[in-house]
């Protein structure tokens, strides 16, 4: 569904990504893990079109994404739940969700989507009239996820949903994500620093270090790999 080939990108002269290739099949849950500064967020920003790559190709289905203007990429079915949540603070929870549903599919499925989102993340239903800027960090993260789901995406991209959250809140959000995936069969691409949790729940994983894919494989291969065990799992 998403095929990234030889992608190099970065800010001005400093390349952050160096020939990265990543493949996400329909229905898969793929995790990209790696330390701070490995280029994970840069990768997502390039997929969403906020950054222009220096080289490489990004195919989404049959579409060459690099020829699609950034604002049109959401309409193709890519939902980006950005790093640091980035909800719209002066809009209410409900209005934030409506912004998620700006796409044609989001508008069409609005009724059933909102029901499912409130079902998965009941706190959003309770707070629907509240300004998003007044929510706690965990609630904002749930709103960001709900906002992504509201577009009826084909691919949900999650950039560090656990960032800056208390461990118990982060655990809760992971559980919700796994439930959502089980019930919806949605294709998900996750970037995480919490390597153990990410690899445990994903079908397939990539380890990104200093802008390169240093390791890839399915979840058992990765978790059995010595380097991963030593560097990330603390075993």
């Amino acid at each position: 569904m998403l095929r990234i080939e030889g992608l190099s990108a970065g800010y001005s002269a400093k390349p952050v990504l160096n020939g990265v290739s990543i493949n996400v099949e329909a229905g898969q849950f793929v995790a990209i893990v790696g330390p701070n500064g490995a280029g994970k967020t840069t990768l997502f920003k390039t997929i969403s079109g906020i950054l222009q790559p220096g080289a490489g190709r990004i195919m989404f289905g049959d579409a060459d994404l690099l020829t699609v203007p950034p604002a049109q990429r959401a309409h193709l079915g890519i939902a980006h739940v950005p790093e640091g949540r980035q909800v719209f603070p002066s809009l209410t929870v409900m209005e934030n969700l409506e912004m998620g549903a700006m796409t044609e599919s989001g508008r069409r499925d609005w009724k059933q989507n909102i029901e499912r989102i409130f079902d998965w993340l009941p706190v959003l239903a309770e707070r629907r009239g509240q300004f998003a800027g007044t929510l706690s960090g965990g609630q904002q993260q749930m709103l960001a996820i709900g906002r992504g789901l509201a577009s009826s995406p084909k691919l949900l991209m999650l950039d560090e949903p656990s960032m800056g959250l208390a461990p118990s809140t982060a655990d809760f959000i992971f559980e919700r994500l796994i439930d959502i995936r089980k019930q919806s069969g949605l294709t998900m691409l996750l970037v995480e620093q919490r390597v153990a949790e990410a690899l445990e729940s994903a079908d397939h994983g990539y380890v990104l270090e200093a802008g390169r894919v240093v390791l890839e494989g399915n979840n058992e291969t990765l978790r059995a790999d010595d380097r991963v065990r030593k560097a990330y799992l603390g075993m």
Partner: protein, 311 residues
């Protein structure tokens, strides 16, 4: 007592028009974060557009002297909105929006110089095209008044033209706030203002949102200018007199708060008129800025400003 009520009424009437004028600028600043120095001159163009629509384009002949000016003024709004759309597309969009989002200072230096340049071209171009003779949109309503008898011996006079100006301002303001708070396009404008990057992730074309905000802001201020022109004569450099008031109103209302700008403008109108009770008329504008500084001293974020800036 009568003098106080009279000044209060005058302040509320002019305040409503100032409020509308400020909202035009507040919309542009709130959504785009662009400081538009030319906004007073867009208003000047709105005044002349209404003037020529009324006198030369046949509005006077069709609607007469009482209704005609207001028809011309309302028509000037869409004309200036189209003009603003065009100016954004050809000039402003090159130094704002997603093109400059990743630059240091988000292109603010280029924006300042560009909008100052547009202001100079409009002012001096206006001088060439319209001449330096004072113009005004004359209606017999400007020189007649309604008498509001509050008690047997206290009554307040409401200038008919100013009364209608205020009503038109309030109606447009209501429609605009409905558009901003309820409609899809209004919500996406607010989302683009809150966080342009996240708005792009939602599939909102941020540059298009900016274009809509700029056009809308120009159209609204043009209407406010036309309304002012029913009572105040104008000339090609009139924008300079008002642009300061506009910025004061936007800052008072809270930078970035669109509806707040209306209350900022209203406050300025009230202070201006009430100050005549105790100060000579020449000090009206001094009074505005003394009060402005006092309010900003105690409430630096303005009436409706958020203390925390967008992330």
């Amino acid at each position: 007592m009568e003098g106080f009520l009279q000044a209060l009424a005058a302040g509320l009437l002019i305040g409503a028009v100032y409020g509308l004028m400020c909202v035009g600028l507040g919309l542009i600043f709130g959504v785009m974060r662009v400081i538009n120095f030319a906004h007073g001159d867009f208003m000047m163009l709105g005044m002349y557009t209404a003037f020529y629509l009324f006198t030369a384009a046949g509005v006077q002949a069709v609607f007469g002297n009482a209704v005609g000016p207001f028809v011309a003024i309302l028509l000037a709004g869409p004309v200036l909105a189209v003009f603003g759309y065009f100016v954004h597309r050809t000039l402003i969009s090159h130094v704002s929006g997603t093109r400059t989002a990743s630059l240091e200072g988000e292109g603010h230096y280029a924006q300042l110089i560009l909008t100052l340049g547009i202001a100079l071209i409009l002012q001096n171009g206006g001088l060439i095209v319209f001449g330096s003779v004072l113009a005004s949109i004359r209606t017999p309503l400007s020189s007649s008044a309604w008498e509001l008898g509050l008690t047997s011996d206290i009554s307040v006079f409401i200038n008919k033209a100013r009364g209608i100006d205020a009503i038109v301002s309030l109606v447009i303001m209501t429609l605009l706030s409905l558009l901003i708070t309820r409609s899809r396009i209004g919500k996406s404008l607010r989302a683009a203002a809150d966080n342009p990057t996240a708005a792009t992730y939602m599939g909102i074309d941020v540059d298009r949102a900016h274009r809509v905000a700029f056009a809308l802001g120009c159209g609204i201020t043009a209407i406010a200018g036309g309304l002012l022109a029913t009572n105040y004569p104008f000339h090609p450099f009139v924008g300079l007199e008002y642009v300061i008031v506009m910025y004061a109103g936007v800052v008072l209302g809270g930078m970035g708060s669109i509806i707040g700008a209306f209350w900022g403008g209203m406050t300025i109108g009230l202070v201006q008129q009430m100050s005549t009770l105790i100060l000579p008329t020449q000090l009206q504008n001094a009074a505005i800025f003394v009060v402005f500084l006092l309010i900003i001293f105690f409430r630096p974020q303005g009436f409706f400003g958020r203390v925390v800036e967008r992330t």
